[in-house]
Point group: C2
Chain length 308, copies 2
């Protein structure tokens, strides 16, 4: 299977959706011409990463949320997907008819049908205004925790799971999908190069991104395609480092630039099967009765007494 | 806190426990002299990695299992720990008075008291004889799945968790311990450089070992000390690569040789706390109701319907 990851350079506040969609279309055409059957776009791909700005929810909805999908702005993506016979993953800010707000991604098949929707569960950041911080991280203000669970959809005989950005740091994310026989997990992200909450070393921001993708691909015997935004959006730098990771945990394709860039790999789903048949034969090796705390506790608590 | 990891070179079939304990003592003394408060020894540290040989359970028990702990052979380790005021982790094959067999580790404090016991849960390998394989991996024949769960013990104001070898590849292992407020996870292992089950690339054996330790330390905001055996036991090569990993996911100490070798780090437990206060504030960010499949399914099954 041909998998493409379409990294995006910055989307500045001044750019409109039409300009962004034009860039996405160019990458979709490139991906298709290089043999991709699926192209992965970033989280909140249609706009700048607006949760970095303090504003009212009403203003955010007005400027940055999509009331329907597809809509007139993104229709060209659907039309071109159908024309080229290529599927895509797209992240965007969703507002429902009831006014609920989610950080959402969709999986669209090569007939341009939306076959899956995911709403981000692990929302990072805060909901209050931090006037002393150089920028905000207001996902907990603008979005609700996703209500759809971690889904897996069969697309052209491949089981595809989705998650978004911070979800990729949580091992539960991948495990719930691999227990639904996911073979490929796709995700978009916007990761600032600076952590506003504490003095985290800047290079850790890339290291931790790499190791969670690598280990999670391996531990769940899945391929992962991760598409980020990169470069500086109005002065706010993001890590980029979009990549495709094999079930061996190896990075098989990686972005090289801080701009729009398509990376590609021909992925062999049989490789994941080898790991699922052996070291990660879940049915043979897992012991769920020893894992109960994972669902019984939210935060950490005291050590439990052991039987000996 | 001073943490030492004592990697072991090979233990051949012909070596007796007295010779092995002498090597462990030398490393314990070196660790203490370098300021360690805890030294981590490998899995099944007292003998060769015997699950690679086909034999009856009775023969294995006779040659390789411990009927009590401490016993006369290992008493010098306990005496020296008390003398030096250093704790240790030790892996060994345990047979209970009822005749149950486990792949076990103990946590011993600096007064030489056993304060924790763990019995390996994720047993790799097989239970049948594979006469065409270059060697066996008979952990499923010689051991039962551990019955004590994943424990965490407070040792001198540090919460220490234990696991063994293959457990380190499973994200559930670490999560159950970090939900019990583990700050440090210690483990021993014997990892053959060749996979007898399928044609896994040899370098993956080390890569996957690294990335699971790195990602798990980060995802659980814990320090990890991992002690392996290395070199060739009677011609059977093991990966070594013993290491200490920080909560940032970075490898801060790593073995350099294929022989007995002590590596050290002064570990700052406050670093883990920074991650637990921010990106991995479990109480604030986890969503256990979306994780239920982790305990509801053992093997992978069909995708579930999502709500949208």
């Amino acid at each position: 299977m041909g998998l493409a990851v379409a990294q995006m350079g910055p989307v500045h506040l001044a750019e409109d959706r039409a300009a962004v969609v034009k860039r996405l279309l160019a990458m979709m055409r490139e991906a298709a011409s290089r043999g991709a059957e699926l192209v992965v776009f970033p989280e909140l791909a249609l706009t700048t990463f607006f949760p970095r700005y303090w504003m009212t929810e009403a203003e955010a909805v007005d400027r940055f949320f999509e009331r329907s999908m597809p809509n007139a702005d993104v229709q060209p993506l659907f039309d071109t997907a159908r024309e080229l016979g290529i599927g895509f993953y797209l992240g965007y800010a969703e507002i429902t008819p009831e006014g609920r707000r989610f950080n959402t991604s969709i999986l669209v098949d090569k007939t341009a049908k939306i076959i899956g929707k995911y709403r981000k569960i692990h929302l990072p950041g805060h909901s209050d205004h931090k006037p002393d911080a150089p920028f905000q991280h207001l996902e907990k203000k603008f979005f609700e925790v996703g209500d759809l669970g971690f889904g897996v959809w069969n697309m052209d005989d491949t089981n595809v799971g989705m998650c978004i950005c911070n979800d990729r740091r949580w091992p539960e994310t991948y495990r719930v999908m691999s227990l639904q026989s996911a073979e490929l997990i796709v995700l978009g992200y916007n990761t600032p190069s600076w952590n506003i909450h504490w003095n985290e070393l800047i290079h850790w921001r890339t290291t931790t991104h790499e190791i969670v993708l690598q280990a999670s691909a391996y531990q769940n015997a899945v391929w992962i395609g991760a598409a980020g935004k990169c470069g500086s959006e109005d002065g706010h730098h993001m890590i980029g480092s979009s990549m495709i990771v094999a079930p061996s945990g190896e990075i098989v394709a990686r972005s090289s630039y801080e701009e729009d860039e398509v990376i590609m790999a021909r992925i062999d789903l049989g490789l994941g099967q080898m790991f699922r048949d052996h070291v990660f034969n879940f049915a043979k090796h897992r012991s769920p009765h020893h894992y109960k705390l994972i669902v019984e506790r939210t935060g950490a608590g005291d050590p439990l007494p052991t039987g000996d």
